[in-house]
């Protein structure tokens, strides 16, 4: 079986587990929603909220990413499933790509919900000419986040103190995504007078980031979990 076929099976398994357990739906989405509400308490100004809304959407996404990564590896390590897959001779690159694909799909759903929340809570509007930029930004940023999250999630999985190690490793690593995706979404939504053409260089950054960590992660994942 090709790597991609195995990766799709791993992703399908993860999504199936999620569909049956509904942890993302019942816990992670509400968590992200609460984050959006408490940002409003902290900033306490409609004008400021409207200005910083794209950044808050991505910040809520990053926090949720940490929870999602913990979850996606908890289902593997609890029953030693990761070891079982390795013993069964599954290519670690396929495991990495599969887990990243499953995570990316969950993240994408979460981001779309958060954007809706921003439209309602933070009074954002989505102009028609910004839709293409918005869609490509969401896709490229999600790939980058999933690549980093899966890599460090796999590294920390199965160790004591993983809950605290994961944010320490992940948040500095995804800082470029936070910067790039925030600026690109600002351009797509026209926040603070930004125009759509301002957003494309940031998409370039997001794509380079996703490609770098996608390739680096799939090569590094084997040595990391092969223990």
């Amino acid at each position: 079986m090709s790597i991609w076929r195995v990766a799709c099976l791993v992703a399908r398994k993860d999504l199936l587990v999620e569909r049956r357990s509904r942890v993302v739906l019942n816990q992670v989405l509400p968590f992200a929603g609460v984050t959006m509400v408490i940002f409003a308490f902290a900033l306490d100004s409609d004008a400021v909220l409207e200005r910083v809304a794209p950044g808050l959407v991505w910040l809520a996404t990053m926090f949720s990413l940490l929870v999602l990564v913990q979850r996606t590896f908890a289902i593997e390590t609890d029953d030693g499933a990761l070891d079982a897959m390795r013993v069964a001779g599954v290519d670690p690159r396929a495991i990495y790509l599969g887990k990243a694909m499953g995570l990316a799909i969950e993240l994408l759903v979460l981001e779309i919900v958060l954007l809706f929340a921003a439209v309602i809570l933070y009074r954002q509007t989505v102009p028609v000419d910004g839709i293409a930029l918005l869609a490509i930004t969401l896709l490229s940023a999600t790939c980058g986040l999933a690549a980093v999250g899966t890599l460090y999630g796999g590294l920390a999985a199965g160790f004591k103190g993983r809950e605290t190690l994961l944010p320490l490793l992940t948040l500095p690593a995804v800082a470029p995504v936070l910067i790039g995706a925030t600026r690109a979404v600002e351009a797509a939504l026209g926040t603070a007078g930004a125009v759509v053409s301002d957003g494309w260089p940031w998409v370039g950054l997001l794509l380079v980031f996703a490609a770098t960590f996608g390739v680096g992660g799939s090569l590094a994942f084997g040595p990391l979990i092969d223990e």
Binding site: L165, L169, P172, P176, I179, T212
Partner: protein
């Protein structure tokens, strides 16, 4: 023995099998040179070099700030190279791993020193402790990234597991830093442009100031090498103690079993 590296050559062991310490003749000479260079730096940095036209006395902070960040960058390069040698080399010698770890530890301390000293300089020159400019922000993220690397080193497991994991993270950090720098640079840039390593190749600085800076770089580089040598040896000792502890535990377990067997035989 549980690992392949039971007798690191760099640690002095006296004939009775006890460790004699991490100092050797070489490190003692190096340490003395470091002390001399530091005294020299204090003399030039605080005494002989003039105050700056614009920055006044605050310029003296540069004689620590610039050398510490240069040495920090160098130590992270050493970490990356040693990680690469460990991961791609055939021998899988733990010496490379210990060099990478020691270098990262010292580099992290030097980055912390750079950030503290730089923020003091910023307060005097810019009027604020922190500016959200590209180089400062990248340096802060670099600091956190290597704290993460050091945390990964303490995850546990065998020495070879630790070495493999941290080598991967050490190499990933090298991928990450240019991306962070690029993104933050796009985000904003205010920092004073590099004066010594300017793109036109001309050095635009007072002679005595430049010399003091040079003394600083020499002093801190010697200090770095001295620290790395000692830290690598301490790490070798820690690894040996881990192995020996396991061997002792196994031996005492065997000793418990043997008398029982003898009793059964009788």
């Amino acid at each position: 023995m549980t690992t392949t590296d039971s007798n690191p050559a760099s640690v002095e062991v006296d004939p009775s099998g006890r460790f004699a310490g991490t100092g050797t003749r070489g490190t003692r000479i190096l340490g003395s040179m470091t002390v001399v260079a530091m005294v020299w730096l204090v003399a030039f940095g605080l005494g002989f070099s003039p105050a700056d036209r614009d920055q006044d006395e605050a310029v003296r902070i540069m004689y620590v700030h610039v050398p510490t960040i240069w040495v920090a960058y160098m130590s992270f390069v050493v970490t990356a190279v040693a990680s690469g040698f460990y991961l791609f080399g055939r021998s899988k010698a733990l010496g490379w791993d210990r060099l990478a770890g020691a270098s990262a530890e010292i580099g992290t301390i030097f980055v912390a020193a750079t950030l503290v000293v730089g923020s003091l300089w910023g307060r005097l020159t810019w009027g604020v402790f922190w500016q959200w400019d590209a180089r400062l922000t990248t340096t802060a993220l670099l600091f956190v990234t290597y704290i993460g690397y050091l945390a990964v080193r303490r995850l546990g497991g065998s020495h070879q597991q630790r070495a493999r994991r941290s080598a991967v993270v050490g190499l990933l950090a090298v991928l990450l830093i240019p991306l962070v720098h690029w993104s933050v640079r796009l985000w904003r840039s205010l920092h004073q442009e590099a004066t010594v390593l300017d793109t036109d190749g001309d050095i635009d600085m007072d002679g005595l100031m430049l010399f003091s800076l040079f003394v600083g770089v020499v002093a801190f580089t010697l200090f770095y090498i001295w620290l790395v040598l000692h830290r690598t040896r301490v790490m070798a000792m820690e690894d040996m103690m881990d192995d020996r502890g396991l061997d002792l535990a196994l031996a005492s377990r065997r000793a418990e079993v043997v008398p029982t067997q003898k009793l059964e035989e009788n």
